[in-house]
Symmetry: none
Subunit: 344 residues, 3 copies
């Protein structure tokens, strides 16, 4: 993917920082969620900067979608991550940012590609957060490049509409700690929730949570589910496309729930649902803000993949979700294979 | 403790999260203060949500008291703690939340009861923090249950009044660095302070410090005192009832001081005093915001209690505090014994 | 300052990130201490990376000195700071890193120079933290450039030796709470301390506190002193050279104390002393780890400097420190003037 020609404001941006103990699990692996948070921070900067290069209200680039992304190699405490973000397509009201994450071991000098992602942003006016601003167009290196971008734009637009039309997956009922323990390796056994009260330090320029903060929580709950299922060191392998349906405001309570949907020999697919409700405006009720599928793998001490225990599926709903997960798994596998054969 | 019948808003709330290295001491034991902070977060959410189910100003449930609580089993890094909070009594202007903490080893599946606590909250208007709102009543399962709640309410109210009436314990004079070093195992030897500037992340919906943040600092200083006295791995065993006399605002400097008051064969009682002062409104002076007694024990490598070095008491004041501590120690011991005999 | 020719490993490094509410004071001004922390993180990365390009033990670049630095313009929440670090001189056992901080308003596109700093690092073996490794030499663009670097190296070396030889300034005696309150605008009135327990998230690759973490605490306490003296919005204007005499290990309690030494019409000089002591090895006693002079100014609502109340000096020691501070103030003023005339 070569970059389109862009003006100064749309020029690539690089974020980098040392990974601290707080960023990693006990095995020293940096959480995928922290990588996603850095990716989103870079995307938000480059997008916001670009959308403010015209007259009109000041605005903030708000994340509406992250395309499917894979974690290509693990990152460790003490390594330096370099996140490069670049605007690669603009439509009238949205823009695409492509992001690359390199991890550098500053002791050995070794560098590796850790992640590649594509994010879609929409500029929201800071005066009125519901007003979507126009996006200044970028220049493309070639007509082909522009055309490819347009195709990606159309594809994600359709997919986002579809997701909206789909009946909302019921929120799983939280397990009562006094219930008898579930049978091991069932869906109910590993289902988990995190609940977080959105505070000022989750927000910057307006009073809404950054998409990166939400993704970090989602990855955290998916990690708990995966660890419960296989009792080993687990890491994020990939995340399916995430759509951010609705914004989450400061003062909301966010419930992030994860449950296994599908398990292959060496991977687990976890569905994560994010529901928000205002603490002080209870009458507004809970609403679904985000949902996504995370894939985790289990690693041994040398960071080699371990087999994963089979999932004990119970009931029709679990079976349906399992079958749907299997379809996604096989599609991804096929796509990886064909990408490889095309030498990509 | 069976739950009263409640509407949706008063329904139990469950918070859960993984314990990180930052939550624990070097031996891997999660600080009691972090458990207290989670307990308070759950209580604040469930209380705030309930108090906003009626018309009138939006309000926040502010912590005014935590009943005596015991740490029943140690929690370790990597474990998942589940905190369940439920409103169990309401008076006109306050409500009681009972909280239970389970710790789960997600690798082995083992669960244990880590803590049980009862907290009292008062709803403060977000428009005017000094205006106390009314609390919507909950429904009780039985008249007995309501009656028991009322008794707990009256008991804590009396105790809070008593604490207010008691002459304020003078802040221990900080050690003068030019003095010769104190003798080991004296009160002065292990007396410690932490001083912290209240920042945005210590507060959430209004500009006041969460009770949980204060309790975490209190536990931290008590841990330093205990470690200085016995030079071993120490953990929080219990905390006496804590009354939150006055609120602490963002921008205040908080001085948290701990000193040994009493030492038995296997436990240390540490008095912790919290004083706050505004940085920019010096004329208001320092004020005592909170005070409490923490009990710590010393553990060997297998988490078995170790003997604690005797306390060298110097002067009348230290002797008086030692004798008062001994009374509390014997009362607690007796109470634990009678609870046990009643099969609780 | 033009850059020397350097190999890949010594190439400039750029760190950048959004400023969050937690990074700033209530007026929205990002704390100078957070800028210093980012500067040190960039310096540590570029230094560590360079020192590991040779055979021998893996090592970490440990901060030993920061040259006098000025905060040229305020930075605000939501702005993006870009920190560029570059190795500009190497001696056998130390290296100089020059760092530049640009702040960018991503809404308006405005950029401003926020800080320029020079830091000295020494590579410590990760196997044995007391073993100082050799620094691989860099290539210089010209003999002149090398010569200038050598002069800076000699100058800072001499100054560090001098600081060591100087009798250690006694730690200011903490105020006794039973004393009557101090008179306003005296040294004693605004003297302040912070006390912090060093945790895992203050350290990365080894178990010692990062210099940047210490500088952040120092700036925080200096800010409290300044706010107490003039009750207004205050910001860091400059920091005199800081020498890091001794390392601070995980598990230490750090006492950071600040007191006014000199006040001019529009600025305050605050001396900050950092003392560390191990919690469990009390016999080792407290030791002075760092000391420095911070200069703060007071700002009105439009970020224009306000007059500062005069300092009421009491006793010989305070007068001596005041006179010494005045000498530093006049020297700095003269230097700024001559720099200006040289058009630098």
């Amino acid at each position: 993917m070569s970059a389109p020609q862009t003006g100064e404001a749309a020029s690539p941006l690089q974020i980098c920082r040392i990974m601290w103990p707080d960023d990693a699990n006990v095995a020293g692996n940096v959480h995928g969620g922290n990588i996603l948070k850095m990716i989103e921070e870079a995307g938000c900067i480059v997008g916001t900067r670009h959308c403010n290069t015209q007259n009109g209200d000041r605005c903030l680039a708000a994340l509406v979608r992250v395309e499917k992304t894979e974690f290509l190699s693990p990152v460790f405490i003490g390594e330096v991550t370099h996140v490069t973000a670049e605007i690669t397509h603009t439509s009238k009201h949205s823009l695409e940012v492509q992001v690359k994450v390199m991890a550098e071991n500053i002791l050995t000098g070794a560098k590796k590609l850790a992640n590649k992602a594509a994010l879609w942003y929409v500029p929201c006016s800071l005066q009125n957060v519901d007003k979507i601003m126009e996006v200044p167009p970028i220049k493309y290196a070639s007509a082909e490049q522009e055309e490819e971008g347009r195709k990606r734009y159309e594809a994600q637009k359709m997919e986002r509409l579809e997701t909206k039309a789909r009946p909302e997956e019921m929120m799983p009922s939280p397990p009562n700690p006094e219930d008898p323990p579930k049978e091991k390796h069932t869906v109910g056994f590993s289902q988990s929730s995190l609940i977080h009260l959105v505070g000022p330090s989750d927000c910057t320029l307006h009073d809404y949570v950054h998409g990166g903060v939400t993704m970090k929580l989602m990855d955290e709950v998916a990690g708990i589910v995966a660890a419960r299922h296989c009792n080993t060191n687990i890491v994020t392998a990939s995340v399916d496309a995430i759509n951010f349906h609705r914004k989450i405001k400061k003062g909301c309570v966010v419930t992030v729930t994860g449950r296994l949907t599908f398990v292959s020999n060496k991977s687990m697919e976890i569905e994560v649902l994010v529901d928000a409700s205002s603490v002080v405006e209870a009458e507004k009720g809970k609403y679904r803000a985000v949902s996504a599928f995370f894939t985790f793998i289990s690693l041994d001490k040398d960071n080699k993949p371990l087999p994963v225990p089979a999932l004990k599926v119970e009931g029709e709903d679990e079976q349906r979700r399992f079958d749907e997960g299997k379809v996604r798994y096989l599609q991804n596998k096929e796509k990886r294979l064909s990408d490889k054969m095309r030498g990509q």
